[in-house]
């Protein structure tokens, strides 16, 4: 059997408030198990506050969470012991639900720094300004990003949809192995959704896996997943094929939460 891209085993996570002087919060993830083979796309759905973003954050190494139990393997290696930038360089990419603004830092300059940090980690030569520019132009076409946005500060004054487009542009530039897309579809108009889905589909391949967090079937019409998981109350309460998403669209989450196994 080949090693899966990502394997999550009995993952328990709570808010770590030690840095802020607050008390530690209750558990948010309560035993997640998930196997994502190379080349597959899995969708994660679930009610607001069920822990979807938390899962994505923990996988990317965001501070502020404490893993109380379980492990995560990325290509068979322990992921949780790697620093956030190390995970990024190894090929973990998170398209944020709420991308942050970094005022005054040119978007292109930022992207070039990122691309070269990742390239030099992978033993590739750093790109010079001209080489980077032509690569960036090519990828910008893929997500139909206007040049004007590239000249501004990172996400500075971008509309919600523009920010999402910028995330996918970065994903295309950084050439990751594991893509975590957190509600990349929310806030997009119909045309933008089609463009972005096209961009994501172009990146699908046998060596790349994706975890697609979404609330809407609509996205899954464009990016057809291999599996769909439902996250509720910090656990995966149901998994199935792409037809599960349609069922959820019709019935909502109530029936699943009712059949959730009692805590144990």
């Amino acid at each position: 059997m080949t090693t899966p891209m990502l394997e999550i085993r009995d993952l328990h996570v709570r808010i770590d408030a030690s840095g802020t002087g607050g008390t530690d919060g209750e558990a948010i993830l309560r035993g997640i198990d998930l196997v994502l083979p190379a080349g597959e796309v899995h969708a994660i759905m679930g009610p607001n506050g069920s822990g979807k973003s938390t899962l994505a954050h923990v996988l990317a190494g965001k501070p502020g969470y404490e893993v109380t139990k379980g492990e995560v393997l990325f290509e068979g290696r322990d992921l949780l012991s790697i620093a956030p930038e190390g995970r990024a360089r190894a090929g973990v990419f998170l398209a944020f639900q709420y991308p942050v603004e970094i005022p005054g830092v040119g978007n292109m300059y930022f992207l070039k720094q990122a691309v070269n940090a990742v390239r030099s980690h992978r033993g590739l030569e750093e790109l010079d300004a001209m080489e980077f520019l032509s690569l960036a132009r090519e990828k910008m076409k893929l997500v139909e990003m206007p040049e004007e946005l590239a000249k501004r500060g990172v996400n500075e004054g971008f509309s919600g949809g523009e920010k999402k487009r910028n995330e996918i542009l970065q994903m295309a530039l950084l050439d990751p192995k594991l893509c975590l897309l957190d509600e990349t579809d929310s806030g997009l108009d119909i045309d933008a959704l089609r463009v972005i889905a096209g961009g994501v589909n172009a990146l699908r391949g046998p060596a790349r896996s994706m975890l697609l967090i979404t609330h809407y079937q609509r996205l899954l019409d464009y990016i057809v997943p291999d599996h769909v998981h439902v996250l509720a109350g910090g656990r995966i309460v149901k998994s199935g094929g792409k037809e599960l998403a349609r069922e959820l669209e019709d019935k909502g989450y109530g029936w699943l939460q009712a059949m959730r196994a009692p805590a144990g």
């Binding site: 942050v100 830092v105 930022f110 990122a114 940090a117």
Partner: protein
């Protein structure tokens, strides 16, 4: 950010901390009328210059150190323990730059400032001040073709006495404040610039200050006069060796802009900041002021202050001419145990005068950063306008940022706007960068440079690059 990160932040290395071995002509520590007479004699000054100094000294004796209002804390300075004159020994008057002591030349090369004119790539004329004296001024002849005077101050006293007598102290009088009075008494060298009417200075003028001798104070004086319709851009850079003692730097800069003249004055201050425990470092007490004496004149101060244990300076504009313009763009970074109390004063006297203040303060480690700014609109300043924006960025939780804006509006037609923000460097921003493969250290420097962009873009190109590098180096060690 982790504690380790903050510790490393505080320990960033100072690359400019070496000393130079040269034979010195040096005065014993101590200050008295006699010491002032000796300094004046060493510079073969005319008697009016000596009298002016002595006047400054007597005023200084009457003044108290401005301890009470600035948000700075330091042990009292013993003014009798300081040397007021140190100069590299030179056998005779230099005929050309090639005769310069090779040790000193090497020092400037190490600092990235080549003094041979043929080697200067950039379009910058340099006056290099080493301890108490100017050791080299480049491009003199080229400038004189345009009638521009760019001279070491002591030479200006001899060669342009009329201009010096007329303008020296006209913006910062001897008794202006404690440190200005001290400077008036003992100032050693510095630069003098005169741009004739209608001349646009064809290159950047630059002074590079270097403290080398120990126990020595540096007291330079700069005077720039832009005659009607002229333009000049002036750059100032500074470094000093690493020493355990605190060394005093008390400079005075006076700018005068006549009708339609423009002066752009840029500083990158990188005096030795002291070590991570707060030992040593330069005490930087500086008075900088410009007078927009003429109509439609403009003075623009841009400063990037990353060095010194203590920085106390308020580059200011007196907007006397109608329609004159004053600008102040500042980045002040305090890390380690550095303290900065800096800002500006905009005094609106003429009609329709406008001023802009953009201040960016960054505090890391145990750094304390205060912005102190005064905007005064005098009675006659009809239609005066001011816009101030003061932003503070905190890195870690042991540092501090403080903002003290003072407003005195005596004319009801004036428009004054003030905005201030304080933010912590965002964990979210850092994580966003890290998630893209950028290290924490690079992320900090990226975010800080973005924060300062509005100010950095006011600097001449080469200086902006240097300043960006400095901001990065000053925060170095930010690896998680």
């Amino acid at each position: 950010m982790s504690n380790q990160t903050l510790e490393q932040l505080a320990k960033a290395d100072y690359e400019w901390g070496f000393t130079t071995d040269v034979e010195q002509d040096i005065l014993e520590p101590g200050l008295s009328e006699d010491v002032i007479r000796v300094i004046s004699a060493k510079k073969s000054e005319p008697s009016w210059m000596l009298d002016w100094r002595l006047d400054g000294y007597r005023r200084w004796l009457q003044l108290a150190e401005p301890h009470h209002w600035a948000k700075l804390s330091y042990a009292p300075i013993d003014y009798q323990a300081i040397r007021y004159y140190a100069a590299p020994k030179q056998k005779k008057q230099l005929q050309s730059l090639d005769e310069l002591d090779p040790e000193i030349r090497r020092t400037y090369e190490k600092l990235g400032i080549p003094l041979g004119e043929q080697k200067l790539l950039a379009n910058v004329a340099v006056d290099a001040v080493f301890d108490s004296v100017s050791v080299a001024t480049t491009f003199k002849k080229e400038l004189e073709k345009h009638g521009i005077l760019f001279l070491p101050f002591s030479e200006a006293v001899r060669r342009a006495p009329e201009l010096v007598r007329r303008y020296l102290g006209s913006v910062v009088p001897q008794g202006d404040n404690f440190f200005a009075a001290l400077n008036s008494a003992v100032f050693t060298d510095g630069s003098f610039v005169y741009i004739p009417p209608g001349v646009r200075c064809p290159m950047e003028l630059s002074t590079y200050f270097r403290i080398n001798a120990s126990e020595t104070g540096q007291f330079e004086r700069t005077l720039i006069i832009a005659d009607k319709g002229s333009y000049v851009s002036y750059l100032e850079g500074c470094t000093a060796p690493m020493r355990d003692e605190n060394q005093l730097h008390a400079a005075v800069v006076e700018l005068v802009a006549l009708d339609d003249a423009q002066i752009k004055y840029s500083t990158v201050q990188n005096w030795y900041p002291g070590d991570a425990e707060g030992r040593g470092g330069i005490y930087n007490f500086v008075t900088k002021r410009g007078k927009c004496a003429g109509r439609r004149s403009k003075i623009s101060w841009t400063q990037v202050e990353t060095g010194s244990a203590i920085t106390w300076k308020y580059p200011s504009c007196i907007l006397q001419g109608d329609d004159s313009v004053g600008e102040f763009y500042s980045v002040a970074l305090t890390s380690k145990h550095q303290q900065a109390d800096t800002g500006t004063k905009m005094i609106h006297i003429g009609k329709r005068t406008t001023s802009t203040i953009i201040s960016k303060g960054i505090s890391a480690a145990h750094g304390q950063n205060s912005y102190r700014g005064l905007v005064r609109i005098q009675k006659g300043a009809d239609g005066a306008r001011n816009y101030s924006q003061c932003d503070s960025l905190l890195i870690g939780d042991q540092c501090g940022a403080h903002t003290f804006p003072y407003l005195e509006v005596l004319n009801p037609t004036a428009k004054v706007e003030h905005e201030a923000t304080t933010s912590k460097i965002g964990e979210d921003q850092l994580f966003y960068c890290q998630q893209r493969g950028i290290s924490e250290e690079d992320a900090v420097s990226l975010i800080v440079n973005g924060f300062c962009k509005r100010v950095l873009k006011e600097l001449p190109m080469e200086f902006a690059v240097e300043a960006q590098k400095l901001l990065g180096v000053s925060l170095e060690g930010a690896v998680g």
